[in-house]
């Protein structure tokens, strides 16, 4: 397609901000710092850096380059390699849709906390610290006793979710040009906010104790497989690869858009945000330990518990600027969520649908957002957190990693890693050598299979995931469903085949 006529980011910086925005997400704040603490500080970071260069960058480079080469979204890319491979593009597309349905609900909680911070609705001082857990689980979620007890919809979450989907629609319905411009503003603001929050956090009493926990070194962990699993899994989740969207963003890079450099910049900026977020998190944790006289084991330092219980505890206990700190933290959290959410929507499943069926962009964007909102209502119920956890295990772990490994094998062995490298080098300032072929063909798929086997099958086949009993079988059912729908979509005629 001629350069002037195709959809693309207007400026290179728009592309980089959009890619960083898609990569930087909630996991940078609530997963990376915890992993660093849990797996030996610098030892984890050594494994992480090795993984970034051996798996993360080759995987991201593959997705950018294939989208750029074929000028198509993920399903179109794999269909171009061979008709029988199209499902490998739909597999991550459907995963992206499912991830977005619950990701937006997490953003909805964040929006509720943004407003709740203005009044410190969970309380102030030690009383607030004691009530923060109840506020989240009882007041906001009204959590039931198990996945089978769905209960009613939590209307504030429904409303916040609808608002977030509406914002996503506003960003995406006009395509890449607006996405690029919005990403520049959103990510600039997010970086400013994280620095402000870090400054506030490290000036709290006890912050240094928390940072020592975060960054302390334990080299002995490098001998075991656990730290490598932790680092590789973090890399797989943090770069937003395996969710189809990076093929689309690669397609929007200009003809001579420098794929390699963009890939490395995206990976390093994403890692930098995560590393810096750890300073905010652990400084606050150190302050809580000091203020309440508790140990680190008494404080939740990862996942939803960190964001919606521990951090509010810290905000309640702060000697000054409590409300402002809360508002800024949850605004930052919502913004980094937004840039990932519209990436998942537009890059993940809306562009592939437009490519396949030739439907009008505005209509697909509208109905794509409506569908995401409707499916997401499951997570707005009283059992929402349980279902969110199980669906997350399916689509943000199994399908993401298995789909990524499969895609890497097909690109490396069927399309040809050498052909991909030639295309990349023709457009890039930094040239990659034949070693990249081996990374794409062997190291990336092996690394991803290792994570699936070590952290997935070995655990989930031994005992039901998350203690959900037979409900945990939903994970395997959903996986099969994603696979079946991928093949169904492959079997459907495209707009070109119909005409």
């Amino acid at each position: 397609m001629p350069e002037a006529g195709r959809e693309k980011f207007l400026k290179r910086r728009h592309m980089i901000f959009a890619a960083i925005g898609s990569a930087v997400g909630l996991g940078n704040v609530w997963r990376f710092p915890y992993m660093c603490y849990e797996y030996g500080g610098a030892a984890f970071l050594v494994a992480y850096v090795v993984g970034i260069f051996a798996i993360g960058i080759p995987w991201l480079l593959t997705e950018f380059a294939m989208g750029h080469y074929f000028q198509k979204g993920a399903p179109g890319v794999f269909k171009s390699i061979g008709k029988k491979w199209e499902w490998l593009g739909w597999f991550p597309s459907i995963s992206a849709f499912l991830i977005d349905t619950y990701y937006v609900v997490i953003m909805a909680w964040t929006l509720i906390y943004f407003f709740s911070s203005m009044t410190l609705a969970w309380g102030i001082g030690e009383a607030g610290a004691q009530q923060a857990g109840d506020f989240f689980f009882k007041t906001v979620l009204n959590l039931s006793d198990g996945p089978g007890m769905i209960g009613g919809l939590q209307w504030p979450i429904v409303a916040a979710s609808a608002f977030t989907w509406f914002m996503i629609y506003l960003v995406i319905y006009r395509g890449a040009e607006i996405i690029g411009k919005v990403s520049e503003i959103v990510m600039t603001l997010a970086w400013i906010l994280i620095f402000v929050i870090i400054i506030r956090s490290v000036t709290l009493v006890g912050a240094v104790d928390g940072l020592n926990y975060y960054l302390d070194i334990d080299w002995s962990v490098l001998k075991g497989g656990q730290v490598w699993f932790a680092a590789f899994s973090q890399i797989a989740f943090t770069l937003s690869v395996g969710m189809a969207g990076m093929y689309t963003y690669g397609r929007f890079i200009a003809k001579k858009g420098d794929i390699t450099n963009n890939t490395i910049i995206t990976s390093l900026c994403d890692s930098a945000f995560a590393f810096l977020a750890g300073f905010a998190v652990f400084s606050t944790v150190g302050y809580i330990m000091q203020a309440l006289g508790v140990t680190l084991q008494d404080v939740t330092i990862s996942g939803v518990g960190l964001a919606y219980v521990t951090y509010p505890v810290g905000i309640s206990l702060m000697p000054a600027l409590n409300r402002l700190t809360g508002v800024l933290f949850f605004l930052m959290f919502w913004l980094i969520g937004l840039s990932s959410a519209y990436f998942l929507a537009y890059g993940g499943y809306i562009v592939p649908m437009i490519d396949k069926f030739g439907w009008e962009r505005k209509k697909v964007a509208l109905w794509g957002c409506v569908a995401g909102f409707v499916v997401g209502l499951l997570y707005c119920t009283q059992a929402g957190l349980y279902w969110l956890d199980m669906v997350d295990r399916t689509v943000a772990f199994y399908t993401l990693l298995l789909g990524g490994a499969g895609a890497s094998l097909v690109v490396g062995w069927v399309f040809g890693a050498d052909k991909l490298r030639e295309h990349v080098n023709a457009t890039s300032d930094i040239k990659v050598g034949p070693w990249m072929d081996y990374l794409i063909k062997i190291v990336v798929p092996l690394g991803l299979f290792f994570v699936v086997a070590y952290g997935g099958f070995m655990q989930d086949l031994k005992e039901p995931y998350g203690g959900y009993g037979s409900w945990a079988n939903s994970i395997w059912i959903l996986m099969v469903l994603v696979l079946v729908v991928s093949f169904v979509l492959q079997g459907m005629k495209s707009k070109d085949e119909i005409s």
Binding site: K8, F9, L10, K11, R12, G41, A42, L45, V46, V49, V208, L211, N212, Y214, L215, D216, I217, I253, A254, K255, K256, G257, D258, I259, T260, N261, I264, I265, L268, C269, S271, A272, F275, N425, A426, T427, S428, D429, I430, K431
Partner: protein, 36 residues
């Protein structure tokens, strides 16, 4: 901060800042373009 915590911070700063400086210093020297 302890010595090992400072060491960890310096390690990551070198990797991240060094990597980004490398990328930005290579812009426009090969086949790519900064402003498209």
């Amino acid at each position: 901060m302890t010595g090992s915590a400072i060491g960890t911070t310096v390690f990551m700063a070198v990797v991240l800042i060094g990597g980004l400086l490398f990328c930005f210093s290579h812009m426009g020297k090969g086949g790519g373009a900064w402003e498209d």
